[in-house]
């Protein structure tokens, strides 16, 4: 009977030790998980740094758009003036042609040839001016529309990620609390079992 009681007590002590050891393990897990919350703060800080960086990108975009918008009307004026200039040049060239019709003078013919060259080069330059003007307008569109929209989307994504990180940090806190509660309960169980063992 004495032996049997000894084995029973041994078994009870084994359970008691297991409870106590698990209480410690849960407590240690709770502490480690609590440390994770600090790391979440690090992630949030990085996300905030991204937000600041994005604000700088946005400011730069607005500056570029501002510069191009301010010059936009000037660019249009230059593009429009080209037609007026070419019309005037072709008018005077035609007048010279009429006056010189049938004249065989070399100097006069050279003058006309240069006037024609001036006209055709001006026409090419007009087309080039249109290309430049369109290029500037497209640069404005790319900067204003495409870039700003993308920047807005990144901004929204950063906000969503911050919210998700905050939620995860809260859930981590809850998890740490629950593990701590488990630890306390296992510890109480171990105390009770130790008390019971002592009565045997």
């Amino acid at each position: 009977m004495a032996d049997g009681r000894g084995e029973y007590r041994e078994a009870i002590d084994f359970v008691t030790d297991t409870m106590a050891s698990h209480a410690e393990k849960f407590h240690s897990l709770a502490s480690e998980i609590s440390e994770l919350i600090l790391r979440f703060e690090g992630v949030t800080t990085q996300l905030e740094s991204m937000e600041k960086q994005l604000l700088r990108v946005r400011k730069t975009t607005e500056e570029v758009t501002g510069v191009l918008n301010a010059r936009g009307s000037e660019v249009n004026n230059i593009a429009n003036t080209t037609n007026t200039e070419i019309n005037a040049l072709s008018g005077t060239t035609r007048l010279a042609e009429q006056l010189l019709a049938g004249t065989g003078n070399q100097g006069a013919q050279d003058g006309l040839a240069h006037a024609h060259q001036a006209m055709s080069t001006a026409e090419l330059a007009r087309q080039g001016t249109e290309t430049v003007s369109e290029g500037i307008v497209q640069t404005m569109d790319l900067t204003h529309m495409a870039m700003e929209q993308l920047i807005d989307r990144v901004g929204m994504q950063i906000l969503a990620a911050k919210e998700k990180i905050a939620e995860t940090a809260i859930a981590t806190g809850v998890s740490a609390t629950n593990l701590d509660t488990t630890s306390r309960q296992a510890d109480l169980a171990a105390q009770d079992w130790r008390g019971y063992s002592n009565t045997l």
Partner: protein
Amino acid sequence: MASEFGEQIKLAGQAVGDQAGPLGVMADGVESMAGYLDPVSEKITEFMTQTRRLQEVAEEIVRMLAAQSVTLLEHHDTAVATSNELQSAGEMAMRLLVGATSSTALEGRREVNRATTTAQASIVDGDRLLQQMGEANTMAGDQMNPLIEAIYLKMAELSEKIEETRTSSRITVEGWRTSSDAANVASEKLIEYGDSL
């Protein structure tokens, strides 16, 4: 003194010459238009540096979250194993206490039950937490990085467009200047001819 016809030729020559000035002004105008692109180009370089920095931070966040996920997964595995052991110990305790009437023993049994139930709840918490970590990782990294990359590509497109426009403007400026010079030569030749008549 030129003849009346000669005077007409001279007038036509002067009219052609009068166009040389405005054509030169056009060249200056296009050159000035191209000049607007200089600050834009500088800003694009700044943009690209800023965007690369954004990308670096986003990648750092992904690394941080991935490391946290691994740690959390390890903790979760430990919690599951410990909880299972706790449950086994609890079951053994129940078997030992069959017929025991001591209030301390009964209280111990209740505490073991409570601890096992809370441990199981913690495991469920851990599962949910791991899922949330995965979502946070996706949001901060997988979804953000392509957007930042898109900004970078858009900038590269913008930079190319600016370079094309600058090249066009250089050719155009040259064209207006050539045209202006030709108008001046034409004017001189016509006036010269007018004078000779």
